[in-house]
Symmetry: C2
Subunit: 471 residues, 2 copies
């Protein structure tokens, strides 16, 4: 990733790899060694730890697996011995059974395609596969990370140490944690209470069902604990609990990119009648409310949208209006110019089009938020990126003038023929500064949680938004 | 789509379109006219209906919208008049506000890229956008349709007529319906009772929340009705109820491609510890059970999978075994030959590898099903199609020897860089004859419903499977 420090390759066979000389042991390395990453078999890690002690390394990171997580008595004993020896030698162990560290600022990564750009999320995860997926999913949605640590069995450095560190880390504005269990519930409570009083903490406790709890102990040897206990703990400390990796990414998107709505009243604006109904059901199922449109607002909207092919209620199927704006954009800027035109466009109040539509929503006193959605595979024609971008684009750009909090959802993506073209619309949403979601269920649950979190911790969200605004 | 009958274009301006002469009215058309598709403004449809009567057309299909669904008194009256006039003229109306008919056998479609190949699903949908999305999503999963009808406002031909028709249609083995409401609950009950006694019926009642119910009346003018009433009705008649379009596709996949498990005990086999935990939580949350592995089965598996990097419990993280099979495949067949080798491969019992793994699962008496899953963005390297296909492929091919019902899930797809390469694995699952799912939540809920449906209607599933097997 462009790491600027020294990297030493070590293998008993010696030789050369990727242009680097391979040393036969840590002892042969000519310079000081701070951090050792191990991919050797578990049985040989005690010997490696001894070498670490000799060269004065501070941390041994064990990608190596095959310890307590196997449930085998000899492997549990091996892990115990390793920790005992590390403590005596004043060496910290990360893992075993982990992917290690992603820190874009230091150009350290365990994955080839993570961005070099840093951001506000500090992530810890007891699972390497969840780390990989969470980061890639979040990046698509415009999010970036201060650091991410996959910490596996947590035999020495554990969730408490890491949460404690991220609580004080100035580069981390939001903490996200995938945790399978803890060996010290009391300390975890203390650490979480402190962390969650400083910045928002989003937690996914993996293995919360009966089978999941058993699985957690098999995955990382975690003392998983009953779900009700975790639920009580997380509520008490003020952490935001999610139940899947996708919900975690959705929640991070909402926290970092959405102005918290004052209340539960929302409206859905998009294309497709069926998609609008599904949107409504998902939003109301998550506890949001779609109030009926007041007559005077409806009268204003009726002047903007033809009756045929639209739904001028709440949800709004604004298809004909979106179609008219699309035609206007393509007519004036043409196939070669629409992209620039859209980037420079402003759809202001008084335009007798989508600008006035958004203005009417802003004048609806009961409304607390606006949810834009664009359903890609609602369209019966061939899905092309310019069709989607000119169709959804004016709505997205016009919504930038809204005073109400706005979220954007690009959904109904059926296959690869729609996924790729939809990227341009996704990018428009991110560039407009909106939180981008990829399912109605996702946006609904995230907004509901954001509202609840804002009610319980208004000061945290306020300072988060101030910090994000100041760069 | 290659329609073999005569197509006449009509527009008052005349001229030519796509090489077809354009007639100025229906009266000018030289041959008989059976079916008229209208895209003209609502105000002119009464005049069009009069022309239909004159030329002896049987059906007027109205893509035209702007009728009762607008809630405007004059538009409600226009729809009423149209129906009255059609009844007097013995003409049936499909719609208004609908996409119409997809019938691959007759080469009729309202969408450019629907497959010409027909299949067992008869779909009716009150929403055009849901029709489009459901069909495209189902096609990706290997499903095909006998016919699909988007029927909009249902002012004349309604859900009862269509369900009645599909119940008797020999080409339709499973009925799927997206319904927003009904104007004749008693007839719907009769029709559904009959249809659901002949073949499985899957129903998504759109607009089941309070806001959704209001939205349904705005979308298609449907008399939506309270959710509890619908729930009672659908239970009573024995229909399978789903709550989103994705759930509908998942359910169709399960019905048409999965042998119904005898009971709730399942096991998850795949890659990635975090992904396995998430799988467990989703499966148990849906009411399935992941029983702990019996010691004698675990001993057998320990001889096949190295301890490090695996979870030899339930769920199974079989990563090291999958890696070993991948290496074996690539070593023997090479980069140019692995695809053919995989297609011809059989991983049989006694192979000391993935074949023996599957055999051990078959010998686990409590087990009722096997759920394979491959989590794409668990992999820290660059996602390439050959990496995924050789990684998941041997597991998929070996599972074909299982006696237990098998489902396959390709999930943890974070972005377009993983979506495209994952298609090869998706294809392998479909070719192996397995039901393919794209989320753990999806597979979990569909299997649970399949088990329940098999308990209540074993004879329907039995005859469905027999019909599907006989082609």
């Amino acid at each position: 990733m462009g790491y600027q420090g020294k990297i030493y390759a070590t293998n008993p066979k010696g030789g050369e790899i990727l242009g680097l000389p391979v040393y036969r042991s840590l002892r042969e390395i000519p310079g000081p060694v701070d951090h050792v990453v191990s991919c050797i078999p578990a049985e040989e890690t005690l010997q490696l730890l001894e070498e670490c002690r000799e060269v004065g390394a501070r941390v041994l990171q064990l990608f190596t697996a095959g310890f307590a997580e196997t449930g085998e008595p000899d492997r549990i004993e091996l892990q115990r011995k390793l920790v005992e020896m590390a403590r005596r030698s004043n060496i910290r162990i990360l893992g075993p059974n982990c992917m290690g560290i992603y820190c874009p600022k230091s150009r350290i990564s365990f994955c080839l395609n993570y961005p070099q750009e840093a951001g506000p999320i500090g992530l810890i995860s007891q699972s390497g596969s969840n780390t990989t997926y969470i980061i890639r999913s979040a990046v698509v949605r415009g999010l970036r990370f201060s650091k991410a640590i996959s910490y596996g069995n947590a035999c020495d450095i554990d969730e408490c140490d890491l949460l404690d560190y991220l609580a004080d880390d100035g580069e981390t504005k939001v903490i996200a944690a995938y945790v399978e269990g803890t060996s010290d519930a009391q300390r975890l409570r203390q650490v979480l209470t402190r962390a969650a009083s400083i910045k928002p903490v989003v937690i996914y406790k993996g293995g919360y069902t009966e089978g999941g709890t058993r699985a957690a102990s098999s995955h990382t040897g975690a003392l998983a604990g009953a779900d009700a206990v975790w639920d009580g703990l997380l509520k008490q400390v003020g952490a935001i609990r999610v139940h899947t990796v996708d919900e975690m990414v959705d929640m991070l998107v909402a926290l970092l990119r959405m102005k918290p709505p004052r209340g539960l009243n929302t409206c859905a604006v998009g294309n497709g009648g069926g998609a609008s109904l599904l949107a409504t059901d998902e939003l109301e199922r998550a506890g949001l409310r779609l109030p009926p449109i007041p007559p005077h607002i409806r009268e204003r909207l009726k002047e903007l949208i033809p009756l045929a092919g639209s739904m001028i209620r709440n949800p709004f199927d604004a298809s004909p209006l979106l179609g008219a704006e699309q035609a206007r954009l393509l007519d004036t800027a043409g196939m070669s110019g629409w992209e620039d035109a859209l980037r420079e466009a402003r759809f202001l109040r008084g335009d007798k089009g989508i600008g006035d539509f958004m203005a009417a929503l802003d004048d609806w006193p009961e409304l607390d938020s606006v949810i834009l959605h664009y359903s890609v595979d609602s369209l019966p024609g061939t899905i092309r990126d310019w069709v989607l971008a000119t169709g959804a684009g004016p709505m997205i750009v016009a919504a930038k003038e809204c005073h109400l909090p706005v979220a954007a959802t690009v959904h109904f993506i059926a296959n690869e023929d729609s996924w790729l073209p939809s990227l341009k619309v996704q990018k428009l949403c991110i560039e407009a500064g909106f939180p981008l979601f990829l399912s109605m269920r996702g946006v609904a649950r995230a907004i509901r949680r954001l509202i609840e979190f804002n009610e319980s911790h208004p000061e945290l969200l306020k300072s988060l938004r101030e910090e994000m605004a100041s760069g």
